[in-house]
Symmetry: C2
Subunit: 179 residues, 2 copies
Amino acid sequence: MSLPHAILTALLEKPSSGLELTRRFDRSIGYFWSATHQQIYRELGKLEQAGHIRALPAQAPARGQKKEYEVLPAGRAELAAWVRRSEDPKPIRDALLLRLRAAAVVGTEGFGDELRRHLALHRAQLAEYLAMEERQFPPERDSEADRLRHLVLRGGIELERFWTAWLTEALAEFDRRDC
Amino acid sequence: MSLPHAILTALLEKPSSGLELTRRFDRSIGYFWSATHQQIYRELGKLEQAGHIRALPAQAPARGQKKEYEVLPAGRAELAAWVRRSEDPKPIRDALLLRLRAAAVVGTEGFGDELRRHLALHRAQLAEYLAMEERQFPPERDSEADRLRHLVLRGGIELERFWTAWLTEALAEFDRRDC
DNA sequence: CGTCCTTGTGCAACAAGTTGCATAAGAATC
DNA sequence: GATTCTTATGCAACTTGTTGCACAAGGACG
């Protein structure tokens, strides 16, 4: 039940149309929550019906026409309540770790390349986050909310650092064996 | 499409019944892939129909009767093919990071306690993994496959270390503000 | 002997996420 | 003025994961 809350957060930060939201979910919001445009449009419909958001007027509600949404007080209240609810961390479900475990049983042939590919992807992601950090959070200019958002971004950054470190270690192990 | 492969891997490591699998998914397998018993039973049925596994004979196929499964050659082949397929890492979807970002907008009241709770949970998980590491991977007694499995476990360990470190940092930030 | 607990398997309904495609306005191109 | 590209919204079908409950065998207890 997190997607509606992700959308409410995004809309509070800045009212947007479905496609704009999709783009934001592909970039900044993407480092802690991902979603496709289908999910987003569907959820926007539900949120509107529930009275949590509304379409800004002055736009014809026609197909192919941009439709901007803003959060209503009820939506903000729902988001605040959700933030206060306590929720256990979800258990991990990582396909790469699983595949490595499977490789331990059926053979590792070709798996080194896959590890290298992932390493490159995570390095690229890390570089992107670091660039975002420099752009969005220059030193000594943090408001209250900025400091929290920075903390969230640092979470994304450290996660990517974890992956690059682990993949590097894994590759070292592989190279020691294959040569 | 990873659950069937997780089950194949588990069954190759040791033939098991549905409930035994469920228990293994709650412990060792759980640090890279989680699943409920419902998912497991459903998937066992599908895998059997697909000819990837079979129930060991000598057991009446009655309700409430234990039913052990083993992997057939076709299942092993499917698993090997899956390990060789390349698959991109899935984008992150973490509810706690999302909630912190939401808290930056609607207020952080009470969120420190939630962070502390998560920190305790992750510390406990980390301790458990470290105990597993000592038990299952004593120094200098690694086979080929053991080294890979150890690598996977170290992934789980480092992930928990990441969380404890990030949560500690986040709490420091919170305490600086609240006092 | 009845009922209660544990172990074990499983159905059904639902919720969340994914994939493929349809539709439509408007601008660009020729 | 017909075609094609981009921006934008959306439906339908499917797959995956979750929740709640039902059913059954066997042992434990009084």
